[in-house]
Symmetry: C3
Subunit: 140 residues, 3 copies
C-alpha cells in the first residue's frame, strides 16, 4: 500500500471565499503515483470546509447568502457564547458544519473518479488568516 501526504496553504483576503482546488488535488494524485485507492481532502481548521459542488459563481453567491441566513455572523457574546472567548467567529464554526469538513474521493486508473460536474472547493468562513488543507492518498 502506498500513502502520500500534502498540505495546501491559503490566506483569503476576505472573511468568506470558495476556492476551486480540484487541479491542486489532481496534481497531488499524480505525485502520489496511486492508481487505485482513496483520496481524503480535509480542512485542518475548524472554521473552514472542503466540499464538492458546482463551479458556478451564481451558486457560490447563493451559498453565501443561504449560510448567512442559517448561521448569521454576530460578534455579540450574548448571542453566541463562543464569542466570549474573544473570538467573533462562532458563526463560521456552524457554517463549516453545514458545508462539511472533508471529502473522500475514489481514485480509479490514476484519476479522481468524478461525475461530470464534481469539483472540490475550499470554503473559508473566517478568512484573513493562514490556513491549511490536508490531502492524504492511500492505495496502490
Amino acid at each position: 500500500m502506498k500513502s502520500y501526504r500534502k498540505e495546501l496553504w491559503f490566506e483569503t483576503p476576505g472573511r468568506r471565499a470558495f476556492l476551486n482546488i480540484t487541479s491542486q488535488v489532481e496534481a497531488a494524485l499524480k505525485e502520489s503515483g496511486v492508481q487505485e485507492g482513496l483520496a481524503l481532502v480535509n480542512a485542518m481548521h475548524i472554521t473552514a470546509s472542503v466540499f464538492i459542488n458546482d463551479d458556478e459563481q451564481g451558486l457560490h453567491h447563493d451559498f453565501g447568502k443561504w449560510l448567512e441566513q442559517l448561521a448569521p455572523f454576530d460578534a455579540d457574546p450574548n448571542h453566541y457564547h463562543h464569542n466570549r472567548t474573544g473570538e467573533d467567529n462562532a458563526d463560521a464554526h456552524m457554517k463549516r458544519q453545514i458545508m462539511g469538513r472533508e471529502v473522500v474521493v475514489a481514485i480509479t486508473a490514476g484519476k479522481l473518479d468524478f461525475g461530470p460536474w464534481e469539483r472540490i472547493f475550499y470554503g473559508e468562513f473566517d478568512g484573513c488568516r493562514r490556513k491549511r488543507v490536508l490531502i492524504k492518498i492511500i492505495g496502490e
Copy 2:
C-alpha cells in the same frame, strides 16, 4: 490491496426521492471479495446525496418538508442567482449539502459494519434525469 468499482444508475420519476440502496451496496461488496476495508458510496451528481439514516416513511416525509423549509425551491433567478444559468435547481444544491455527498462504511468479516438501524439512501433533489452513484471498495 484489492479495489472494486461499481456504478448504480437512477432516474426518479419525481423531483425528490429517497431510495434505500443498502442491498445494492451489499451486492457490490460480495462481488468485490473484500473482507476487511472501507466502502465509499457517493453521489456523482451535485444535486443528489448519499446518506445513512432510518428506513421509515414518516421520517422521509419529515426530511422532505424540513429540507424545503431550510432551502426552498424557487425558480426565480432574482432569488437564486444560480438559476440565471437557465437551471431551476439551486435549492437542490443546498439540500444536498445538508444531507451530504457521501458515506464511508467499514467492512468487517465481509459485511457492512452497521449499527441496528443504519441503512444507505440515495437522496434525489432534482430528479427526472439519469444520475449515478459510485461505489468504491478497497481492502483485502
Copy 3:
C-alpha cells in the same frame, strides 16, 4: 494492509451531549499499530453524530441552541410524522444530518494528522440509551 476495529459505548444522562472522544481514538490508533492510513470514526446509531470541531464549552452551547432552532424537538406526531411510530426523536435524526455521521482522519507517522484545534466529538441528540461509535482503521 492492516485493519483494526473497536467500539466505544456511551449512555449520556441527558437528551443532548457533546463528548470529546479524541483520546479514545488515539488509544485505538496506538493499539492498531498503523503508521500510515485512514481512520473512520462513525456513530452506529442514526440519532447521533461524530464530528470534528472545537473543544470549547461556549461553542457547544451555541451548537445546541442553533440545532434546536434548525430542527426543533416536537413530540407531536402531527408535526413530525416519524413520531407516529411511537418515537419522539424525529428532530434528533435531523440534527444528526447537520452535524454528520462520520469523520475520516488521516494517519501519518502513527498519529492522527490534525490541525491545531481539531478534536473528535460524539454528538448525542437522543440520549439516555446505550449507543455505540465504531472506529475502523486501515493502513500499514
